[in-house]
């Protein structure tokens, strides 16, 4: 769709648009926006409706489905009555720990790959870093589960945190960014007697704000969205994370659609609040690293 709009806009590069063209462009913009916004509006409206009325106007679709029928906060109340708050705070804490500890681990690893020469560097980078982020988690679930249970970590925080710390995608991102930093800067600092650690801490990191923010977002979101792993190693209710709590709304016989949607809305707010202010850095880091999502 956006391709179409670009095409139409390109027809009139530089010149002033006629009224008809402007109208057409706007109409297309509105259609595209509607495609993205309507389902979201329905979801919001449904989260404020009683469960039995969620589909009243949605199938077949009528415009009334975009407004809550019999406005109620019941879905939200029920969510919090069954510990949704605990799940939200668990996931937030988990995300934050992984961002800070994982940030240190991954940025240092990225720096080593970018700046040091050591035996087996290429092999380590290609074999471990690149290949691990291509292997789906499901494939390694059983051996990793065995490892965690041998460590007696089932139903503990370390089971949730430790496997998420080293993130090959984030290491890759750091490495690409650090390679762009001029060698002269680092050499100058070294000549002045700076240790490698202070080069990293005082020179490299302050220059790396975009990639730090991007890496933090990637790590936080990967924890925020995680489902399978936390469910496997920490099924205890006190350790439940937000995606698992949402999925509990899907019962054997019935799905509590209003609670499912209410939970999804609440769970979406946190990433949105994080993404909006940092969007600029995020895009900058992704484009400058040559990574495309």
């Amino acid at each position: 769709m956006s391709g179409v709009i670009h095409f139409i806009e390109s027809l009139n590069l530089g010149g002033k648009r006629s009224a008809a063209e402007t109208l057409l462009v706007y109409a297309l913009h509105i259609v595209v926006a509607a495609v993205f916004i309507l389902p979201l509006m329905w979801a919001i409206a449904a989260s404020f409706s009683p469960n039995q009325e969620v589909f009243k106007y949605a199938y077949p679709f009528s415009w009334r489905a975009l407004l809550p029928s019999n406005f109620t906060l019941a879905a939200y109340e029920n969510l919090f009555a069954r510990d949704f708050g605990v799940a939200l705070s668990n996931t937030f804490v988990l995300g934050m720990i992984v961002v800070f500890v994982g940030g240190v681990v991954n940025s240092m690893a990225g720096f080593a790959f970018a700046r040091f020469n050591f035996r087996g560097k290429r092999l380590l980078f290609v074999a471990i870093i690149l290949i691990t982020f291509l292997i789906p988690i499901d494939l390694t679930a059983i051996p990793r589960f065995i490892l965690i249970s041998e460590l007696k970590w089932i139903n503990t925080w370390p089971a949730l945190i430790v496997p998420g710390l080293a993130n090959s995608l984030v290491i890759f991102l750091f490495r690409q960014f650090f390679e762009e930093i001029p060698q002269d800067l680092i050499d100058a600092a070294r000549v002045d007697g700076a240790s490698w650690f202070s080069v990293f801490y005082r020179i490299v990191l302050p220059l790396s704000r975009p990639v730090l923010i991007t890496a933090a977002l990637l790590m936080f979101l990967s924890q925020w969205d995680s489902f399978f792993w936390p469910l496997l190693v920490a099924p205890h209710p006190a350790l439940r994370v937000v995606q698992v709590e949402i999925a509990i709304s899907i019962g054997e016989y019935q799905t509590l659609w209003n609670e499912l949607l209410a939970g999804s809305m609440l769970a979406a707010i946190v990433p949105i609040l994080l993404l909006l202010p940092f969007q600029r850095y995020y895009i900058q880091a992704i484009t400058s690293s040559g990574l495309k999502d």
Binding site: Q52, F55, I142, I154, F228, L231, Q254
Partner: protein, 424 residues
Amino acid sequence: MLLKRVLFIALLLAIAVTPSLAQDQTVVTWLMLGWGGAEEVVAAFEAENPDIDVEIEQVPFNALFEQIQVRLAAGSAQPDVISVDVPLVAGYGLRGWLLPLDEFFIMGEQDDWLDAAVEAGSYNGELLAAPVSTSTQLLLYNADIFEAAGIDTPGEDERWTYEYIAEIAPQLTMDTDGDGATDSWGFTWEQTNRIYQLQPLAEGLGGDAIGEDGLTVDGVINSQAWIDGFTYYSDMFNVHMAAPQDDTVGASDLFASGKMAMYIAGPWNINRLIRDNVEFNWGVSRHPYFEDGEIVTPTGSWHIGINKNTENRDAAAKLVHFISTGDGAEMWWRIGSGDFPAQKSVLAMFQTDEQFEEAPFSTLRVAADEATIGAVPRPVSPGYLEYEQILQNAFSDIRNGQDVEEALNLAVARIESEMDKYRR
């Protein structure tokens, strides 16, 4: 100074709050679905067995099977106790994941379970998962739609034929707002894709679900009975146009929002209709049958088993015994999962308990009685998961208009090749 003192008090508090595990306390973990009343039932068990602590691990429906698969395949000692969906018993049995249970039950205790449930919970002659719940299916109807169409509703003990349903279903299918698109349907099945729900279509005409060996499907699921049964199914969607082809919105959600005249569904929907206090009048009737066929109804539900690698064998066995027999089983039915009990003695309480005297609760009495009629378990096969998955696709193709014989033959080829690995 102050900070130190605060920290010290906080530390003391933390120690005080941390659950103290007494030395001789056995902790049993139980992996299950998100059943609301489970904690209460477990508390009653713990009161009877003060030396055992039960830790419940609840996971979403679709995730439960993955959980079991990963954790048991890894040889983990936990969970000790597992809620098992009954058609998977054979598969778990073949892989040696479950502890045989016969020795934990005394003479006569097993006789209280429904025969179909014992059969379905056993593999190679050993009881691997004790029956906890059972299920059945009824015909639920929206009386208001029937009245609008001028058709009489069925009585509670009446059993309509599939033929009659096919005759009236199109008359109950409507376009209420006149925009040319159907928005209220005549008839459907609650789970349009699942063998559980659709098995009676073939077995009611004399077909079988699987060969004697639990593996062969050629000549079984493409037999004349299957072709006839599923032609009926196909016609409901493609000829009578009385059922919605699209299953984005589940049949129960359509029914609950007043857009379905009748459908075959489980009694759990009765609880839901009562709880949601829906605006329309509704009622229940018996599961339909073919004019020249037999009465066949779906059955089967949750059983409970023990992880073969458990380190708490005796405590786990006590818990399994408690949930599957006597007072514990009654409690599990009343406040645990709310599913129908698989114990004849508990099932009989529907007929004696006063709370089922009056409408709408009396409809549950009909359902409890129906659970004892014509119940045919799902096929016992180590390859049940593959069998179900492939048939699910076949049913959905049939619903979307594929030729019935062609779809079933394709399913035969696919299932046969999956089953080969169990033949070795």
